[in-house]
Amino acid sequence: MSAPALSSSALPGLDSVLFAAHLSERASLPAWWLEAKKAAWNQFLALPQPSRTDENWRFSNLKDLNLDGFTLPEDASQKIASSATFPQTAELVFSNRQLVTRSTLPADLAAKGVIFAPLDEALRDHGDLVKQYFQKHPASLGSEKFVALNTALTASGAFLYVPAGVEVALPFVIQHTLTGANVATFPHTLVVLGPRAKATVVEFFVSGGTATERQLAAGVNDLHAAEGAQLTYVGAQHWSRETLSFQVNSIAVERDARVLALNLHLGGRQSRHESHSRLLGPGAHSEMLALTVASGAREFDQRTLQTHIAPNTTSNLLYKNALLDTAKTIFSGLIIVEPDAQKTDAYQKNRNLMLSDEAEAHSLPGLEIRANDVRCSHGSTSARIDSEQEFYLQARGINPTEARRLLVSAFFEEVLNKLDDEVLHSALTALIASQFKR
């Protein structure tokens, strides 16, 4: 027998010992949940790493998807304010695995049955509700292994439930802050809007500390909008420049409901984002939006699926990437129209603004139509920044960095304009602008 090679087991890692410890800390949670976590852990171990032969990972950098050497962080329980610069209904701020800031839900909303709680608390107090919706419609766009890892190890989850007919004007804010080197976080956000309910959720993903530490984030969102509900979800990813990030969105839209999901991608070293919308009832609408500032040597890998299951449903996808330096983006989108989904109106567009000759944008739009009376279109464009516009701005004394910021923000305006909330709109504009500071 040869001596064991120095392997990942020699380093602290996401191994079975660590999982067992994580589970034993949660022994008081419902049995079904613990079973689900065990099953997920086994699934994580059983599923292979993404491989070159997998169409879902075409063009992706696979060699740096290694999870070796990551571990769960120590609790960092210092109080942290959220990145939200706008008025909000309530907020939950997680630092590493710990909930560190929680504002009180306004009494009138609590009285109406609104629940906004960390996932572990919701599992204790509203276990049946969580069970009913947790991963009810899993996305399957390639990251199943990392979604399984999320279910197994999630500790910083959030649950929002807005009952039938309740409308909440100001956003619910969730923030995940990760501090330390070689640490991992597994955020899971579950949002359930009852019939005709209305709410906005803004979720921030930020790194604390020096922002140069190697980190892992594998997050999942389950968004459910029941009949006639209106949900706006904004996810703002601003991880450190050495973070490996997976984020998987599942969006379920029932009859006459409307979900707008806008994901802002700014940070991370390699950031994989998957989003799957299901149009489940007639009149359902899904607006899938994303804005990416791809700078440095970052890779942003976005995979989407719009599944039209019911007739008379609409979906509109617009993903815009601004590429600088030697950054790389991948967009792969598919629209599937099921046989019953007649009168579907689906649109998918990826637009890339190239601000560097060395940046690389891949676009793989696709359609799969099994009904005969539908309107579907898709497309992708890549355009270089207009040098006359750039000169015009510089001729007014605006430095090249600021000129580019203005042109990128102009390019993004079409997407941001889809937000009804002006205050949120300008907060996101400011967050994007911060990427361009010299």
Binding site: A395, R396, G397, I398, L406, A410, F412
Partner: protein
């Protein structure tokens, strides 16, 4: 007294540096002066103004441009602008998604010291007063820069920017082209309002009519890449009456 000095300047397109368009042009503009540069099409007038502003399509192959005695050729376009040079474009770019208010604000902000914040109230007060002067509807502040603007609106917007940025030297490239007589008068009034001992102008134009409203101190005729004749405002009237052919003939016989 501040000066903009163009010394034996040769300019070509970056793509064809061996084919000069401006061929040994020399001219000094001091603050307080308005110099009109006239001449037929294709003689290098626009090339001259764009090269001074630092347009990347043009290359200065020899000669120099000095602002207050210091060469600006090593400066980037934005640095030249902040140093006090303003190019009023013949064809201003449309920038969808950037409002006039935000655009001008970014330009004003660019002139403040690091860390100094713009006083938004004072900024809007000033912007509105300049807009009133130029008879620009206040609704324009929320419109995208030059997008869907008429020719006259674009030129008035150029003058608005000039009025807000208060350059030391303005290079006005055919600001009168595409303007009806009312717009021309408004634009001219905007320039006249800035005229004084802290402001110098190089006014490029084909036509005498703008010079009825902005009376130049000097008139230069540019032909084949250089200044071939200089005089006062009466030279413009002479050109209006006789055209450019007599200049060409004079050159041929010289």
């Amino acid at each position: 007294m501040p000066s903009l000095e163009i010394r034996d300047l040769f300019v070509a397109l970056s793509a064809t540096p061996d084919k000069p368009i401006v061929k040994g042009l020399t001219l000094t503009i001091r603050t307080g002066e308005v110099h009109a540069i006239m001449g037929p099409n294709g003689t290098g007038k626009s090339t001259l103004s764009k090269a001074i502003a630092g347009h990347p399509d043009y290359v200065i192959t020899s000669g120099d441009v000095l602002l207050d005695g210091k060469s600006i050729l090593a400066m980037e376009p934005d640095q030249r602008a902040r140093a006090g040079i303003f190019l009023a474009f013949q064809y201003p770019s449309e920038i969808p998604g950037v409002t006039i208010a935000n655009f001008v604000r970014a330009a004003v902000q660019a002139r403040l010291a690091e860390g100094e914040d713009l006083d938004a109230t004072a900024y809007y007060k000033r912007l509105y007063s300049k807009m009133d002067l130029l008879k620009i509807d206040r609704k324009f502040t929320s419109r995208a820069v030059n997008e869907g603007f008429s020719g006259g609106e674009k030129k008035r917007c150029e003058i608005l920017q000039m009025a807000m940025l208060e350059p030391t030297f303005a290079l006005m490239d055919e600001t009168d082209s595409g303007l009806d007589i009312d717009a021309l008068r408004i634009v001219a009034e905007g320039v006249e309002a800035m005229r004084g001992d802290k402001f110098g102008v190089m006014l490029i134009t084909h036509y005498q009519r703008l010079l009825d409203y902005i009376v130049p101190d000097f008139v230069h005729v540019m032909y084949d890449g250089r200044i071939v004749k200089s005089g006062d405002k009466s030279l413009a009237l002479e050109l209006e009456a006789k055209g450019y052919d007599w200049i060409k003939q004079e050159l041929a016989t010289a």
